[in-house]
Symmetry: C2
Subunit: 231 residues, 2 copies
DNA sequence: TCGCCCTAAAGATATGACGTATTCAAGTGC
DNA sequence: GCACTTGAATACGTCATATCTTTAGGGCGA
């Protein structure tokens, strides 16, 4: 999943630093300076910079250096960018953006899943709904989170739309970030659990409308809770 | 917008070849072979490969070579990947995926735009709706397409959600691809034009529900038409 | 003051050398 | 005959250095 080798480690330094604004938009880095700062060779610096350039976070121009691009140009859908922003000062804004995206996408994915899901998908969804109920009742937040992530990822994957499917990891990151944010205060609400069961049942029954509605209730609720948490 | 220099040109060769399946999933390339095939140095090959690795289209392992990853791992939201797939054999599948994404995202964006749009945004939207009407009546498909792209991009940007905003270019690519696909047959339907005007009016009036509904009608109609075209 | 040209700065590319992980197979022992 | 070990071949990973290309910015002249 991660970029390997020294360029990867350089990215792990530079990416978060840029994403958090520590290296501000418009700042100019020089390749030679980075070589010295991180004690790596030119090759490594250039490959790392190329990757950042690929996500439009920096632009490299002769005679000028490597300039940090304005945020509005970044590939905000790149999983690495999302991870970096969630880990840094941008976390609230990133959670809000992702919250709206979830409200838009997940209900649609649930509706598609009700039509296109394979038998395996439906079985897995039912099983996850049960496990979700169990771990919630046991107040085991860690496994609850794990199953919750798997549940949403399964719905997205079962939609049959590759682009929706790829948001599975992103949604997982949101759920993780959200759980970390309010520091696992209390056990999950029974109402939310019931909605997850309803999504699973509706998908199994092929009822697109009911699946979509139930999922919409889940994600709009999550967004409302998020806005409340963030003020 | 494009990656510059020789690595960029290498990408323009490799990316489409992989995206179209000409270089199939699981295929193994050797760095040295690419040097020879394209007449460039190791430096260039490595930087291009790093970028492809960043989009998870290839993975480079010692003693093995550069292997093409399965499609399911690709960063399907990366603008470059989308462009390559739209240009090649994957175009129908990519258009379908993007169609569903539009149905999910654009109505939500229109609703948000009705609440968050700036005065400039509202003015621009109204102007574009007018120009859309004019160019449609004149059967000027080229400028109609240009205004249509600008219209949808403006709604997405006006939503205030950075992730929605970034889908503007992607939607533009879809509209362009769609126009090319059925070879600009007849002039745009008056009904669709009226819906665009309605979106603009609703956003200006701050009526989120009406904006969302009108936009939903537009994009579901587009998706239905697409499915009909593709069989 | 304006515009052209020159120079130096910094990235872009090429190349040679060495390091290192990984695969595959030969060889050895049981 | 089979399994385990070990070593060599291979292809990427990294570093260092040299040369080319572009271009910002200053200097020069009209």
């Amino acid at each position: 999943m991660e970029i390997q080798g020294l360029p990867g480690r350089l990215l792990d330094e530079l990416g978060p630093a840029i994403a958090s604004g520590e290296i501000p938009e418009g700042a100019v880095l020089r390749g030679e300076e980075l070589e010295g700062r991180f004690g790596v060779s030119r090759t490594v610096v250039r490959e790392a910079v190329r990757i950042l350039e690929g996500m439009r976070m920096v632009a490299s121009r002769r005679r000028v250096g490597i300039t940090v691009q304005p945020k509005s140009l970044w590939d905000v859908f790149d999983p690495m960018v999302i991870r970096w922003r969630l880990a840094g000062a941008d976390r609230p804004a990133q959670l809000r953006s992702l919250g709206s995206l979830r409200v838009a996408v997940e209900p649609a994915a649930a509706a598609l899943a009700a039509v296109h899901a394979s038998d395996d998908d439906r079985r897995e969804l039912s099983a996850l709904a049960v496990e979700l109920t169990v771990s919630a009742r046991a107040a085991d937040l860690a496994t609850f989170l794990r199953h919750d992530i798997a549940f949403h990822a399964t719905v997205l994957r079962a939609s049959g739309n590759e682009m929706f499917a790829h948001l599975g990891d992103t949604v997982g990151a949101v759920l993780t970030g959200r759980t970390e944010y309010h520091l696992m205060p209390h056990q999950p609400e029974p109402y939310a659990i019931r909605l997850h069961r309803e999504v699973a049942e509706a998908v199994c029954a092929g009822d697109a409308d009911r699946a979509e509605q139930a999922m919409r209730t889940i994600v709009t609720g999550a967004l409302a809770e998020l806005n409340q948490q963030l003020g």
